[in-house]
């Protein structure tokens, strides 16, 4: 597919939009004054593909995207501690496919809310500092990874509330871990990146029995034999500055630093754990994106990537083309504040943007699509 010879310079995408697909602003919601740091569509349960959750300040709100462009508020949760500021939110589900929302923030505790009961299902305590990102396992949505400022990544079982594994230590991250992502196919593998400029790939294969044990553990959660993994499978230094978002793209990794670009690269993993070389394949430039904690998102089939920048614009890239093609730039003259995270719907027809001034922007594609959202 890629006609790139290894060893060549990475190909840089051009910033002229192709406008193959265009979007228009259909709605915007002002949530309040607190910055919204995270917004996420539910990719786990097809019944809820239209639902998204947003997190900012001490509140978590669930919305439904309506077909006509409207957004309806379904639930609104507020942490009792006014000082809590949620940084990340992710959908998960219980063993009976009941949807959960896992949110974490500056306090370092992760709230798992059962959406159907509207109650807190579990509170996951254990991180020593704020939680920067929570991601759900694609195949086992009861498992959730959390990346924290305390330099560790923890694997939690949200159904039982157990901290299963802790990824930190000698070869772990040396600074805040900002982003983490599960591998789409390999259930034991995930990638994490942080402020120590490294991107580490971890494997839980050896401890998979503990992961399975966590589902059936019925004693106190603190008695669970939580293991520490200190050695990642691979460490890559692709960036030279804080890396604040990484996602798997098949076996490649898309990662973003504060240098106004997203890199697509392939980790070369040798047999022995430790440092390996990595090849940068493509570069997606994004102007005005040098604040840290701006995250990008993709649709479910990884056709598109959308990312906001600090001027309030959204860049949509086509992931399937090489050289990289910019699909479009979304901007609005009232959207001026930093867009912290975007969310794309399942097919990429709706893009949501959470911005620093507390607004959620909803863009819908104008090309008629048969499937909803």
């Amino acid at each position: 597919m890629w006609k790139i010879a290894l060893g060549n310079e990475a190909i840089v995408g051009s910033l002229t939009p192709s406008n193959k697909k265009s979007y228009k602003l259909t709605n915007r919601i002002q949530e309040g004054k607190k910055p919204l740091y995270s917004v996420a569509f539910n990719f786990i349960d097809p019944r809820f593909f239209n639902c998204f959750v947003s997190a900012g300040g001490n509140g978590i709100n669930l919305y439904n995207c309506l077909e006509d462009g409207g957004i309806s508020l379904l639930h609104s949760y507020a942490d009792e501690d006014k000082d809590e500021s949620f940084y990340t939110v992710s959908w998960a589900c219980g063993v009976e496919r009941n949807p959960f929302v896992a949110a974490g923030g500056v306090k370092g505790i992760i709230r798992v809310i059962d959406v159907t009961d509207k109650l807190i299902h579990k509170t996951l305590v254990g991180h020593g500092d704020s939680v920067n990102e929570i991601r759900t396992h694609p195949a086992k949505p009861q498992l959730v990874l959390s990346a924290s400022k305390d330099e560790s990544v923890r694997l939690w079982n949200v159904e039982t509330g157990i901290c299963v594994l802790i990824f930190a230590g000698t070869e772990g991250h040396r600074y805040e871990v900002v982003s983490v992502d599960f591998h789409p196919h390999d259930e034991c593998c995930f990638v994490s990146c942080g402020m120590d400029t490294t991107i580490k790939i971890w494997s839980m294969k050896e401890f998979w029995t503990y992961v399975e044990k966590s589902f059936t553990w019925n004693e106190a959660p603190s008695n669970f034999p939580t293991k520490f993994l200190q050695f990642p499978v691979h460490t890559a230094s692709v960036h030279t500055n804080y890396v604040d978002c990484n996602r798997w793209f098949g076996d490649f990794i898309l990662s973003k630093s504060v240098e106004n670009e997203i890199l697509l690269w392939e980790p070369q993993m040798n047999d022995s754990p430790g440092e390996g070389t990595s090849d940068v394949l493509l570069r997606y430039p994004i102007p005005n994106c040098n604040l840290w904690f701006i995250k990008f998102s993709c649709d479910l089939s990884l056709n598109y990537l959308s990312i906001g920048n600090q001027k309030g614009k959204i860049y949509v890239w086509d992931l399937q083309s090489c050289p990289p093609v910019l699909v479009t730039i979304l901007s609005h003259n009232e959207s001026k504040s930093v867009i912290r995270q975007t969310a794309m719907s399942v097919h990429g027809n709706t893009i949501l943007a959470a911005s620093e001034d507390g607004t959620i922007w909803r863009w819908d594609s104008v090309t008629k699509v048969a499937e909803s959202l």
């Binding site: 305590v125 254990g126 991180h127 020593g128 901290c163 802790i166 050896e206 401890f207 106190a220 959660p221 603190s222 008695n223 669970f224 939580t226 293991k227 520490f228 200190q230 050695f231 022995s272 754990p273």
Partner: protein
């Protein structure tokens, strides 16, 4: 005024001094003294401790009880910041009538006893993650600091003697600073209000800093005082008392305004407190739970129980007035409460006389901030005749922590092993602990289990580390590395300290890793190692080699037939034979 109260003894020199200080006819101390007068409290221990007064009495059941209160002048200068350790030792003289009552006689003439040796509950508690076990039934008998303040203005503050406790005073209003006696304690008191105290031992928590759970403790609630419980109307067997909770806001429905009563708003004894054994402790600043204990509630101190109509058996000091709850649920209760403190209760109708002084007449709401009510904080009056009924007697617990570790603990503290053990673990029970590595909250069993995790070894990790280390060797083959890692990991787990251990260790090793060693290449590794290392150092002998070989062979035999099973066996045998021959000579 040497004789400020009816039926009281003449003021002692100390009391006169206090009087001078306060300019009041009666100090809490005094009142307490009065209470504890001949009636039976004769034996009260004259607390010569700088700060505290002890009054001892017998409860109805013959259990010794004692009240601790803080001397008024302790707060004169604001927050009390003392270290008990530094207090001069006190010589106690314990005259007790308790023997007469069949009580256990305390130590007499105990010298240099340290009060409040243990402060089990002084650890600041993190209430956000509190486990149920932590809160507890800690009845802190603690020092009920009573301090009367006539009008909130005068109340300097009531700091609880409990050291180390941060006063969480809910709202110190005005002059009252509150210090909590009980640190971290949440007043779990069953909202002592109204009726709920039916069960014995209401135990209102002395919690310091506890905001009174009362519906609205507002304003002047400041009660640094310990709101003591207020017993509900039918507290028939209320045993304990509310701890003097300093800083507690009175749980009263609306203790507002001047509730501050530094006074110990004592509880309100339920109307039929016929057998209320104990009394509400001086609750300093207690706002009477009375419906509207406000304003004058402060009545300083000891508003002990509201007058009870039938003080027939007023056992304790603060007797809520029979028939009247102190905090009254009744309108007329209030006012009384304030009554300046020491309303000890039982002002029965007969004692109207005295009562009036401080208490708003029955039937008058205490709010009546009627002139008579306020000010007088030191409700002197209380000591009404009823007081006479007070039995007194609490076994003084000298040198013992005044905190009852268990609910309903009688004051008869001996060297009960359970109690001692409990006291030892009090600190462990007082707050939420976390594991140090995983930061997961610990359960109480874990905390108390005395398991030491310092020597924990993460086997998997160490194995891995070893393997990594060996990996770095460039001149070793993979099998060699594998064998080395197996052997090293094995040896790390064994305790091989002597030469004689080595043969046994070898056998164990072979048994343990038989499956892996059977492989042809590994067998070679093993043999080379055994021969060239162990045997040449004479650590093992031919017999051991033989045994190991047999083990290996057996393992091999057990395996499902493989193509080269025979060959392997043959090789094994040959090797064994060779080894034997080799060592047959040398061993």
């Amino acid at each position: 005024m040497a004789t400020g109260m009816i039926g009281t003894r003449p003021l002692t020199k100390e009391e006169s001094e206090l009087e001078l200080l306060y300019g009041k006819p009666v100090t809490v101390y005094h009142i307490l003294q009065s209470f504890s007068r001949d009636r039976g409290v004769k034996h009260h221990l004259k607390a010569s401790h700088d700060l505290f007064d002890f009054n001892f009495r017998l409860s109805e059941n013959g259990h010794p009880n004692f009240d601790v209160s803080v001397k008024p002048d302790a707060f004169k200068n604001g927050l009390l910041n003392f270290d008990l350790e530094e207090h001069p030792r006190v010589n106690y003289k314990y005259r007790s009538k308790s023997r007469k009552r069949g009580q256990r006689v305390g130590r007499k003439e105990r010298k240099s006893c340290k009060i409040f040796d243990k402060y089990a509950d002084v650890v600041p508690r993190d209430e956000t993650n509190e486990l149920p076990h932590v809160n507890g039934n800690n009845i802190s008998s603690a020092l009920t600091s009573t301090h009367l303040s006539e009008n909130s203005n005068d109340i300097p503050t009531i700091t609880q003697p409990e050291i180390g406790q941060c006063s969480k005073g809910t709202h110190v209003n005005g002059a009252l600073a509150r210090t909590q006696p009980e640190i971290g304690q949440c007043s779990k008191g069953p909202h002592v209000n109204g009726g709920n105290v039916s069960s014995a031992l209401p135990r209102t928590q002395p919690e310091i800093g506890q905001c009174s759970k009362g519906p609205h403790v507002n304003g002047g609630n400041v009660s640094s005082a310990l709101p003591r419980t207020h017993f509900s109307e039918n507290i028939n067997d209320i045993q304990t008392i509310t701890q003097p909770e300093i800083g507690q806001c009175s749980k009263g429905p609306h203790v507002n305004g001047d509730n501050v009563s530094s006074a110990l708003a004592r509880t309100q004894l339920p109307e039929n407190s016929s057998d209320i054994p104990t009394i509400t402790q001086l609750e300093i600043g207690q706002c009477s739970k009375g419906p509207h204990v406000n304003g004058d509630n402060i009545s300083t101190s000891l508003t002990r129980t509201p007058l009870s109509r039938k003080t027939t058996q007023i056992q304790t000091r603060t007797q809520p007035k029979r028939g009247q709850s102190s905090n009254t649920k009744g309108p007329d209760e209030n006012g009384d409460n304030i009554s300046s403190s020491l309303t000890r209760t039982p002002l029965s109708k007969k004692t109207t006389l005295i009562k009036t002084r401080f208490q708003p007449k029955r039937g008058q709401s205490s709010k009546a901030k009627g002139p008579d009510v306020n000010g007088t904080s030191l409700a002197r009056t209380r000591l009404t005749r009823k007081a006479s009924h007070i039995q007194t007697v609490t076994q003084p617990e000298i040198g013992q922590s005044s905190k009852a570790k268990r609910p309903g603990a009688t004051r008869r503290k001996g060297f009960h092993p359970q109690r001692i053990e409990d006291e030892g673990t009090d600190l462990l029970r007082s707050r939420q602990f976390y594991h140090s590595r995983t930061l997961q909250p610990m359960t109480l069993e874990e905390v108390l289990s005395e398991a030491d995790s310092d020597n924990e070894r993460d086997e998997v990790f160490q194995d891995l580390q070893e393997r990594l280390r060996l990996n770095q060797l460039v001149d070793a083959t993979d099998e060699q590395k594998r064998f080395m890692s197996l052997w090293n990991n094995f040896m790390r787990n064994q305790t091989v300290v002597g030469d004689k251990h080595v043969p046994l260790a070898c056998e164990k090793f072979v048994k343990l890793h038989a499956k892996e060693l059977i492989k042809i290449e590994m067998i070679w590794q093993w043999k080379t190692f055994a021969l060239y290392k162990l045997c040449s150092y004479r650590l093992i002998s031919a017999e051991t080699m033989d045994k190991c070989s047999i083990i290996l062979q057996n393992a091999k035999d057990k395996e499902p037939a493989e193509e080269d099973a025979d060959a392997a066996r043959a090789a094994n045998l040959a090797a064994a034979a060779a080894a034997l021959k080799f060592y047959g000579n040398g061993a």
